[in-house]
C-alpha cells in the first residue's frame, strides 16, 4: 500500500503516475466521456495536414530549384564518399618487399647457424 507523503520533500525523483486499470465495463460511453472521436479526428487531420504540406513542398521543390538555377551555383554531382583503396589492388612497394625478404633471409641463415 502506498503511504501518503506529506511534509517537506528532498527527493531526487518521485514518480507519481495515475494508477488506472482496464475498466470492468466496456462501454461506448467511455469513448464519449473522454472525447475519443474528437481526439481521433483532430489527430488524423493534423497528421494528414503535415504530410500533405510535405508532399506539396516536395512536388514544388524541383520547380523552385529550376527557377533559381540561374542564381544558385552549379550543383556538384551527388557522389558517394571516395572509396577506400583496395589493399589487394595496390602494387606492393618493391623496396619494402626487398627489405623484408633480406631480413627473412638473414633470420633463416642465423637459425641454420644455431642448429649447426
Amino acid at each position: 500500500m502506498p503511504s501518503r507523503l506529506t511534509g517537506q520533500f528532498h527527493a531526487i525523483r518521485i514518480d507519481k503516475t495515475v494508477k488506472y486499470v482496464m475498466g470492468d465495463k466496456f462501454s461506448l460511453q467511455n469513448i464519449i466521456d473522454n472525447d475519443g472521436i474528437s481526439i481521433s479526428i483532430t489527430g488524423m487531420s493534423i497528421v494528414f495536414l503535415a504530410l500533405l504540406l510535405i508532399s506539396l513542398f516536395i512536388a514544388a521543390l524541383p520547380h523552385v530549384l529550376e527557377r533559381l538555377s540561374g542564381i544558385l551555383p552549379p550543383e556538384a554531382p551527388h557522389a558517394a564518399p571516395a572509396a577506400r583503396p583496395d589493399p589487394a589492388a595496390q602494387k606492393p612497394d618493391e623496396a619494402l618487399v626487398a627489405a623484408i625478404g633480406f631480413a627473412l633471409h638473414v633470420e633463416s641463415q642465423a637459425r641454420k647457424g644455431e642448429g649447426q
Binding site: 511534509g7 520533500f9 462501454s27 475519443g36 489527430g43 497528421v47 503535415a50 504530410l51 510535405i54
Partner: protein, 424 residues
Amino acid sequence: MDTLTKFLETTGFANMTVGNVIMIAIGITFISLAILKHYEPLLLLPIGFGIIVGNIVGRDDMQLDVYSSGGTVVQDGEIVTQKVTGDGDVLAENTDEEKYAKTPVGGDRDVREKIKFNFGSVLAYLYFGVSQGIFPPLIFLGIGAMTDFSTMLSNPRLVLLGAAAQIGVFLTLIGALFLGFSPQQAGAIGIIGGADGPTAIFLSAKLAPELLGAIAIAAYSYMALVPVIQPPIMKLLTTQKERLIRMKPPRHVSKRERIIFPVAAFLICAVIAPGAIVLLGMLFFGNLMKESMVTERLAQTARTALIDIVTILLGFCVGASTQAQTFLKGQSLGIFALGAASFAVATAGGVLFAKVMNLFLKEKINPLVGAAGVSAVPDSARVVQMVGQQEDPHNMLLMHAMAPNVAGVIGSAIAAGVLWSVLT
C-alpha cells in the same frame, strides 16, 4: 543459522512467484525465436534476456530492479527512503533503525552523515534512458542517418499513404477507450498502430509508464509478425488486376533536394505539431548529416555504433521492466489484442486510401504499396514486394513501397506528438 536463514530470504527462490517463472519462460522463448528463427534478433534477444533478468526477484530493500531508483525523502521531519514500484506508486518506508539514523531536517550534522544514502539499482540508472524518453530520440538519430528519402522525394503522392496508415493509431485509441483504459493509456496503446518501436516507447514513457513494458513487447512482437499479419489483409482488399499495376520508375533526385528536404520537413512538422520536435528533430538531423556529405564520420557513427549501443540498452531495459507483477495482468491481454488490431487497421487504411487515390489519378498506384505506410521499415516494404511478385514476378514494388514506409515513420512521430500534446 540466522545468517543462513537471512541469506536464504534474499535468494530468488524465496521471492519468486509463478508469474516470474512464466515470464522467464517467455524471455527464453523470445531468445529462442531470435536465435533459431531469426525473428528480429537485434530486438528480441536483448528484450528476452532482459525479461529473464527482471524476473529474478531479490529482497525489496536490496534495490536490484529497474524500478529501484533510490533517493531519500523527508516525511514529517524524518528522513525516509523511497522506492518506486512497478505500478508507479511511490512507497515511503521508514528506514531500519539499525542501518539509518532518523533525524529532523537541519538536525545534528554528525547524525545526518551517518545516514546511508540509497543510490538505487544500476538497472534503474540504465532504465532512466527509457523512462525519461532519452533512448528513442537517439535511435531516431541513427535511423535518420541510414534512411534514404529519395524514393519519397521522387513520388510525393505516396507520402499520403504514410498518413493514411496512421488511422490504425487513432482507431486503436478509440478501442482502448471502449475497453475502459484512461485517455493517456489509450493514447500510449494506440501508438502501437504506428508500428514504430522507439515512438511507442517514447510516448508510453510520457503518457503511461506503467504500461511501457507491455506496449513495447506488443509493438516489437507485432513488427516481427508483419510478414504474417499484412499479406492476408492486402489480398483481401485488392483485386488481382490492382495487384498487377506497374508503376513508373522513380525519377532522379538531386543532391540539393536531398539536403533541403530534412530542414524543410522538420520545420513543417515542428510548427504544426511541436510535440514531435524531439523525435523528428533527431530523425531529420541524422538524415541531414548523411545527405550533406560533409559529416560522413558523424553519420557513420550515428547509424552504426550509436544506434547499436542504444538498441542494446533499450531492449535490455524494456525487457527488465516487464516484471510479472506489472506485466501478467488482464490489461496486458487487452493491449496485445489492441496491438494486433492496430496493425491490421493500419494496413487496411493504407491499402484502401491508395484505392481511393486511384479514383482521381491518371497514373495509378499499386494499392499494395499502401500497406507499406505501416512504418515497420523495411519489413512492410519487403512484404509489398513479396505479395506483388506472387502475381507478377517482374513487378518491382520495393522502391515504390519505401516511400510510404519512410513517410509512415514521419506520420507516426507526428501522431505521437499530437497525442502527447493533447493528452498530457
